[in-house]
């Protein structure tokens, strides 16, 4: 039989009950739109968190001593990079590198008269372009100077929670390279508000020269951190800057825990995607079953005319295809419209932004277009809808012509 006629019958059957068809189509559309917005939002979160992590913490490439372990933040000389300034200067000459700067990291305890808080101490070269985002986010005071021996910068969130103000002194305590506690008093020169709450509440910046003398590390640094113009050049740059006794790590390795965490989180979102698709499937199956029940006698007529079971099934599947395709087109329009809106306006994350230390979220997260993911969602919605139509189609095909013809 010419398939076109089966399509015509399927289409006209859908038109026959416009309201039911419309609401089913709407369910498919809203289901897909929800999935698209959800996944666009998740893609935005992933991208935001990864870019924040790269921009503010890991950079694209780092050079460290071979024995340095991220988890220990060791200040022992054997775990630190010698002559970091030279390595950074050399790296900065590479065309792929936008910025290269040494950092000395140390665990520290910030003490006020009433509280003690564990924080990360960053000994930095204040003039490096790597800190441009922090410089741009200053909300009070000045960015620390390279030759400042008694000043630090802290995040606004930390300042607010401890009631600290510009110019106030705080005490920092760290275990120095010799394993001895070292305490110093520092004045708050600047307060920044990077929008990444994990940094705004747990990082103290001071000039690297002072940090080195404070922690007794000589001129050594924990790492030389590099920002690249293009993240895809990371492997190539890492290979070029590595040397005996050193390890060069790319942003993928540096964010391995984060990427793994997000991978795990994604599997939960896939379950959510699956649940939404299942709901759409149940609605489609219900609509088609209703359509079959309403047309049992008509199925009997078609069967009496010699239509085979396979053709009856095809006709029902065509109906599901039409509803699904129309729903998917509408769902894409609604979903992409919302994603476009959220790429401009974003979600205000509020307290959620700082709730997970391994995911450095901005206070406002923008959705992101993920064409490949959206395309797969549309394809899967279509497949699930067709699978959902199989039972009603099978039910229709199995109707006995005699009973169907005499159905009321």
């Amino acid at each position: 039989m010419a398939w076109t006629k089966l399509w015509v019958i399927a289409y006209r059957d859908l038109i026959r009950n416009r309201r039911r068809t419309f609401f089913t189509l709407l369910a498919v559309a809203l289901g897909l739109a929800l999935l698209i917005v959800l996944n666009g939002f998740i893609a935005g979160i992933l991208d935001d968190a990864l870019q924040n992590s790269i921009r503010l913490q890991t950079g694209h490439v780092q050079v460290r001593a071979e024995t340095y372990e991220d988890s220990r933040r060791s200040l022992q000389w054997k775990d630190l990079v010698e002559q970091p300034g030279e390595i950074a200067a050399q790296a900065a000459t590479m065309p792929e590198v936008a910025a290269a700067t040494p950092i000395l990291w140390a665990d520290t305890i910030l003490n006020t008269s009433s509280e003690s808080v564990g924080m990360q101490l960053y000994g930095i070269e204040p003039d490096s372009a790597f800190y441009d985002p922090i410089r741009a986010s200053l909300v009070g005071g000045n960015f620390i100077e390279a030759n400042d021996r008694g000043g630090v910068m802290i995040g606004k969130r930390m300042a607010d929670s401890l009631g600290l103000k510009l110019g106030e002194n705080v005490s920092l305590t760290t275990i120095n390279a010799d394993g001895v506690p070292e305490e110093g008093i520092f004045a708050i020169r600047g307060i920044f508000d990077s929008g990444v709450l994990v940094y705004d509440e747990a990082t103290v910046f001071m000039p690297i020269a002072k940090a080195q003398s404070f922690a007794l590390t000589g001129d050594r640094a924990s790492t030389i951190i590099m920002l690249l113009h293009d993240e895809n050049d990371a492997d190539q740059v890492a290979a070029a800057v590595t040397a005996p006794g050193l390890q060069a790590l790319t942003w993928r390795e540096l964010n391995a825990v984060f990427l793994e965490t997000m991978g795990t989180a994604m599997s939960f979102y896939w379950i959510l995607d699956g649940i939404v698709m299942l709901i759409v499937a149940v609605i489609i199956a219900n609509t088609l079953l209703m359509a079959v029940f309403e047309r049992i006698r008509e199925m009997g007529i078609l069967s009496a005319l010699g239509m085979k079971r396979r053709q009856v099934m095809q006709m029902m599947i065509f109906e599901a295809s039409i509803i699904s395709l129309a729903g998917i087109i509408l769902g894409l329009a609604i979903g992409l419209g919302f994603v476009a809106l959220l790429t401009q306006n974003g979600f205000v994350m509020g307290e959620m932004a700082g709730s997970t230390p391994t995911i450095p979220l901005s206070a406002v997260v923008y959705a992101k277009f993920a064409p490949e993911t959206f395309a797969w969602l549309a394809v899967w919605t279509f497949i699930i809808a067709l699978l959902a139509s199989l039972y009603p189609a099978w039910f229709a095909a199995r109707l006995e012509p005699v009973k169907a013809l005499h159905a009321s």
């Binding site: 039989m1 006629k5 006209r12 008509e298 009997g300 078609l302 009496a304 079971r309 013809l405």
Partner: protein, 228 residues
């Protein structure tokens, strides 16, 4: 030439605890080109007999040979093939596909049989013209009167050029004028095409058109007479 041969055919239906014998050892032979009425009161087995001849149902016992093929041995697809190629149906309630117009309803069995576009158009227009509905081809069933719907159903039954047309109470839902018109058309097409018509009825005016009358009672054939 015999196109239908039933031998000792029986069929029972069970409704709850009660078993009803709808056909009881029925044997019947119908030749090509016949215009035969199955008559008898309600429950005499006319419809069951038509359904079994029409491969819509299977007997419990006996053999049913249609066009030389024992259809009791066929599976669902095989019976669908027989219905599509050899048998046309006309039902009491017209049984048109409501979403298709008159033209498309008549065309449907031709599409199922894979008839080419040009021949389809010629046959459909020819038949709709023959039943006086050439000007109603675009009307859907709900835009046609009962008589017009039944005429579309007659055209549809004849479209695949079947060996036989089985009509179950074809005039029961029509007024006298429309009923007579439908019978006149069926008789004329029977004579023109040579297609056998077998119709179940208990309307004496319809019986008058038949050249052969098979009387049924309680699932049995009690009389079988031909007009001379």
């Amino acid at each position: 030439m015999a196109i239908i041969e039933l031998l000792d055919t029986s069929k029972s239906y069970r409704v709850g605890e009660i078993e009803t014998r709808a056909l009881d050892d029925v044997s019947l032979t119908v030749d090509s080109g016949e215009f035969t009425a199955l008559v008898g009161p309600s429950g005499s087995g006319k419809t069951t007999l038509l359904q079994i001849i029409g491969c819509l149902d299977k007997p419990d016992r006996g053999t049913v040979t249609i066009n030389g093929k024992d259809v009791t041995r066929l599976n669902a697809n095989g019976r669908a093939d027989m219905r599509r190629e050899v048998i046309g149906f006309i039902f009491q309630f017209f049984a048109l596909v409501p979403v298709l117009n008159a033209y498309e309803n008549v065309e449907l069995p031709l599409l199922l049989n894979g008839v080419g576009a040009k021949e389809r158009r010629e046959r459909v227009m020819g038949l709709l013209d023959a039943v006086g509905l050439a000007d109603r081809i675009n009307n859907r069933p709900d835009q046609l009167s009962g008589g017009q719907q039944q005429r579309v159903a007659i055209a549809r039954a004849l479209a695949p050029r079947p060996l036989m047309v089985l009509a179950d109470e074809p005039t029961a839902n029509l007024d006298t004028a429309n009923g007579e018109q439908a019978m006149e058309i069926m008789k004329r097409l029977n004579e023109q095409t040579g297609t056998a018509f077998i119709f179940a009825t208990h309307d004496p005016r319809v019986m008058a058109y038949a050249r052969r009358t098979v009387n049924m009672l309680d699932g049995r054939i009690v009389d079988d007479s031909k007009k001379l």
